[in-house]
């Protein structure tokens, strides 16, 4: 260590908190539609998604982001989260954990019914938890989130009791996610095919029809009563109907928005965002996803990155700032944190990630990589300093792949040979499972700081039956393990936050990761779409408050 750690940690925490304040203030959706008058009822809004079309509209099955995007329009969760990161009531009015943290009683709203007429009550919650934990449901995301939940049982019609195997400080955050939303138990009784085609929830819209590879049609739920506590209005939604389309080609998607064929698009590319910001007819909504920031993880489980000096040298040799500003054209902010800027617990430390090729060169010399070969790459014991970097073309947008190319080009100047290998998802997972990588970037969305335990606890190096493991930096540090395990059991907010801050500092100072920016989540909308916002849980848009100013 070149500097005394405690000072640095304090400094880091301070920087983090300041940065956070700025980011929270800045992340409220830009709303240039201020003086537009009273919301108007009616009309059809067309939403065009660039994400893959889900194979099942019930997010209990599997559980990915495309499912979350659409299901947020017709399904609702027990709790939600506000812009400040506080858990707020939704279908559950209140909750009380027992002193040992092993029993949680949720009191539910008594006035809610599913859109098929079934009452929303404690028995319904019990059925949903059972559905998520049933192996035949084939749930992944929801199943993992309920890892510490032994059972949920109806105590009375409006009180449901969760029994845990150990205290879980992330329980509320987990339950706020769209993958654990509540569905009609009567609908869940149907075959999985039927439920996948038309899941039934309590949300502001109802799934009316789904023509595969074309569109999902949602219609307004006229009996809607249960908006989350931070919604813009009460009662039914303004829109009559929502057409949810899938346009995978980003150019076609933007052109469709420009021509007015569609009203809202997601996965907007940086150049179109810049164009839209100069346009009067299109607005931009920027809503970074929670959980982990996008970062390059350095595999500390094998050479050369098992040496902290080589890890730091790599990080110092990568000119990320220039790459981000040229490729994202001001639409993404550089991150210096393991967590997304929307997480209140995020700790940021810019000083650790300065671009400094001369420092990098000294570090490599010290680590024994002090010779160079004919092509200018560093060599040690006859071995070239190579970094295998498999890139998933499904998970990294084109601009991000270009960031990696620029990192490759700048790291080369210091003597790193970065071998970028773009590949499809199956090959990418195969490369990770066979430990055939030195650097990798994998997004991870989860509400709250518990994502740190999934990504950096040494337990996560142990592969699942599929060969997948989440700790791709292969961080194996007993101190980090202890901090994360304790934090996951600590329900006191202040204590929990300080444990997570300590863990993050240790991760950042170990140079296991090179943070890039938040998980980008940009929406473009026609200016006559008013009131669109994203849910602060996983940053999916909600069309409940949206109306058409036509």
């Amino acid at each position: 260590m070149r500097r005394p750690a405690p000072t640095r940690r304090l400094l880091a925490a301070t920087t983090g908190i300041v940065a956070l304040g700025l980011l929270v203030a800045g992340c409220t959706p830009t709303d240039p539609n201020e003086p537009v008058g009273e919301p108007r009822n009616g009309g059809t809004l067309t939403y065009a998604s660039g994400d893959a079309e889900p194979s099942c509209l019930d997010p209990h099955v599997g559980g990915n982001f495309p499912q979350a995007l659409v299901s947020a329009q017709y399904l609702e969760s027990l709790v939600s989260r506000d812009d400040a990161g506080q858990i707020i009531p939704w279908l559950a009015e209140s909750w009380t954990p027992s002193d040992d943290g092993l029993t949680w009683d949720f009191t539910l709203r008594g006035d809610v019914t599913f859109t098929d007429g079934t009452a929303f009550d404690a028995a319904a919650v019990q059925a949903n938890i059972a559905h998520l934990q049933d192996p035949t449901t084939l749930s992944s995301t929801g199943y993992l989130a309920l890892g510490k939940v032994a059972s949920a049982t109806a105590v009375s019609p409006t009180v449901v009791r969760f029994t845990l195997t150990e205290p879980d400080s992330a329980l509320l955050e987990s339950l706020s996610q769209p993958w654990l939303a509540m569905e009609s138990p009567a609908a869940l009784e149907r075959s999985q095919d039927e439920n996948c085609a038309s899941p039934v929830g309590t949300g502001p819209f109802i799934v009316q029809s789904w023509v595969k590879q074309n569109a999902i049609t949602l219609v307004r739920n006229d009996d809607y009563v249960s908006p989350p506590a931070d919604a813009g209005h009460a009662g039914p939604a303004y829109l009559d109907e929502v057409i949810w389309r899938f346009i995978p080609d980003s150019a076609s998607r933007y052109a469709a928005l420009q021509s007015g064929e569609v009203d809202v698009i997601d996965n907007a590319q940086p150049d179109t965002i810049v164009q839209a910001e100069q346009s009067d007819s299109i607005e931009h909504l920027d809503s970074p996803r929670p959980g982990a920031a996008n970062r390059v993880e350095l595999n500390s489980g094998r050479a050369p990155f098992n040496d902290v000096r080589v890890r730091e040298a790599f990080i110092r040799s990568a000119n990320v700032d220039d790459a981000v500003s040229s490729l994202f054209q001001g639409t993404a902010t550089r991150s210096y944190s393991a967590l997304s800027s929307v997480e209140a617990t995020a700790v940021s430390n810019a000083a650790l990630f300065d671009y400094d090729p001369s420092a990098a060169a000294k570090l490599l010399d010290a680590a024994g990589w002090n010779e160079s070969d004919a092509e200018g790459y560093r060599v040690k014991d006859g071995v070239r300093l190579s970094v295998e970097f498999p890139v998933s073309t499904n998970q990294s947008i084109p601009a991000e792949q270009s960031v990696f190319e620029q990192i490759q080009a700048t790291a080369k100047e210091t003597g790193f040979e970065v071998k970028l290998a773009p590949m499809d998802l199956s090959s990418w997972y195969a490369a990770l499972a066979s430990n055939d990588y030195d650097a990798v970037s994998a997004p991870y969305t989860k509400v709250g700081p518990d994502v740190l335990r999934i990504l950096y606890h040494s337990d996560s190096i142990v592969p699942a039956p599929s060969g997948y493991f989440a700790n791709l930096a292969q961080v194996s540090d007993p101190e980090i393990d202890a901090l994360l395990t304790t934090a996951a059991r600590t329900t006191d907010a202040a204590e929990r936050n300080s444990l997570y801050a300590d863990a993050q500092n240790r991760i950042l100072e170990g140079f296991y990761i090179l943070p890039l920016y938040d998980q980008q989540n940009h929406f473009l909308l026609r200016s006559n779409v008013v009131g669109l916002r994203t849910l602060p849980t996983v940053a999916v848009p909600t069309l409940y408050d949206a109306w058409l100013n036509r």
Binding site: A48, A52, S55, C56, V61, G62, N64, P135, T136, L138, S140, Y143, L144, Q192, D193, C196, V211, K212, Q213, N214, R245, F246, I247, P248, D249, A251, S252, R253, A255, A256, Q258, S259, E261, V262, N394, D424, L425, S426, Y429, A430, A433, A464, P465, S466, G467, Y468
Partner: protein
């Protein structure tokens, strides 16, 4: 020889080859099914994993066991092969790994969009090719050169480049045509043009050559000698004569349109077989890939049978072959 025997022979002469061709068609289908079945055995990885959303999904061991049993992955290859053939014989294409749906209805549901697109593109391509061929065969050397040049360039245009160029010009710069299908007719213009222009380039080349040959043939000379107008000669005699190579090209045009549909449906966000296939390939959704391939093979075989019969009807000489 007695009259009925003669007629029976004539009928046999048509039916015999057709029966042989039908037998051949069944053979081709069986071979296609077998090749695809054994080929996909070569895919590394656990198909049960693919059903559960790929290796990143962190599926539990219970779920994996469940899926293996449900899909019969735990049975021997021979049993699976026979089961697959049995299912195919009854029209059951199996179940998609990724889409949570039976392949048969899925593929059939996507068929309409592609057929509409391909049919329109074929018609437009023929109109373009006819117009260009007719113009350039009658317009002298310069027109012939320009026509020939246009055809070569059109035939060389990759679908993906043409599609994006059309979107940039007509949707983004001029803003006159929608870049995606919205159900209306205007949404079809750009995708149809994308498919039709390169095809027209090819058809035009063949057609113009046939026309030139026909225009120099004795029957056209005699028609001219009878005093028929040039336009009359072109449309009634020469074009009819030129239709034979055109019919025999339809099978090829079909394959070309299917390849094109893969690109066009993706770029213009149209539902259809091509987009389904590409999605399935990227997800390694084997049953859907097999399903689309089988449907295309059936369509291709039907197409060749039809064009064969049509050629025999148009040209009596072929009946003897």
């Amino acid at each position: 020889m007695a009259e009925p025997v003669n007629r029976r022979r004539a009928v046999l002469r048509v039916i015999g080859p057709m029966a042989a061709r039908l037998g051949g068609a069944v053979f081709v289908l069986w071979a296609v099914a077998s090749i695809t079945f054994f080929a996909v055995r070569l895919i590394p990885g656990d198909p049960a994993q693919a059903v559960l959303g790929g290796p990143g999904s962190q599926a539990s061991p219970e779920a994996l066991a469940l899926v293996r049993n449900e899909y019969g992955f735990d049975q021997s290859v021979l049993v699976q092969y026979l089961a697959q053939l049995g299912r195919l014989a009854t029209g059951d294409l199996g179940r998609s790994y990724a889409l949570n749906q039976d392949v048969g209805p899925l593929v059939l549901g996507q068929l309409g969009g592609t057929v509409l697109l391909a049919a329109l593109a074929l018609v437009v391509a023929w109109l373009l090719a006819l117009a260009l061929a007719a113009w350039s065969t009658r317009g002298g050397l310069v027109a012939a050169r320009v026509g020939s040049g246009l055809e070569i360039v059109a035939a060389a245009l990759p679908h993906f480049w043409l599609a994006t160029s059309l979107i940039v010009v007509f949707s983004i710069w001029l803003g006159v045509l929608p870049p995606i299908s919205t159900g209306g007719a205007t949404g079809l213009v750009l995708p149809v043009l994308t498919l039709a222009v390169p095809l027209a380039g090819f058809l035009g080349q063949v057609l113009r050559e046939s026309l030139l040959t026909a225009l120099e043939s004795p029957f056209v000379l005699s028609a001219r000698a009878r005093g028929e107008s040039e336009r009359g000669v072109l449309w009634t005699h020469a074009l009819r004569h030129a239709s034979l190579p055109a019919i025999s090209l339809s099978g090829w045009a079909f394959g070309s349109l299917i390849s094109g549909a893969i690109v066009v449906e993706t770029i213009f966000a149209r539902p259809g077989l091509g987009r389904t296939l590409l999605n399935a390939v990227t997800l390694r959704d084997v049953p859907v890939v097999i399903g689309v391939v089988m449907i295309v093979a059936v369509a291709y075989i039907l197409m060749t049978l039809l064009t064969d019969a049509a050629s025999r009807l148009v040209d009596p000489r072929l009946r003897l072959a």
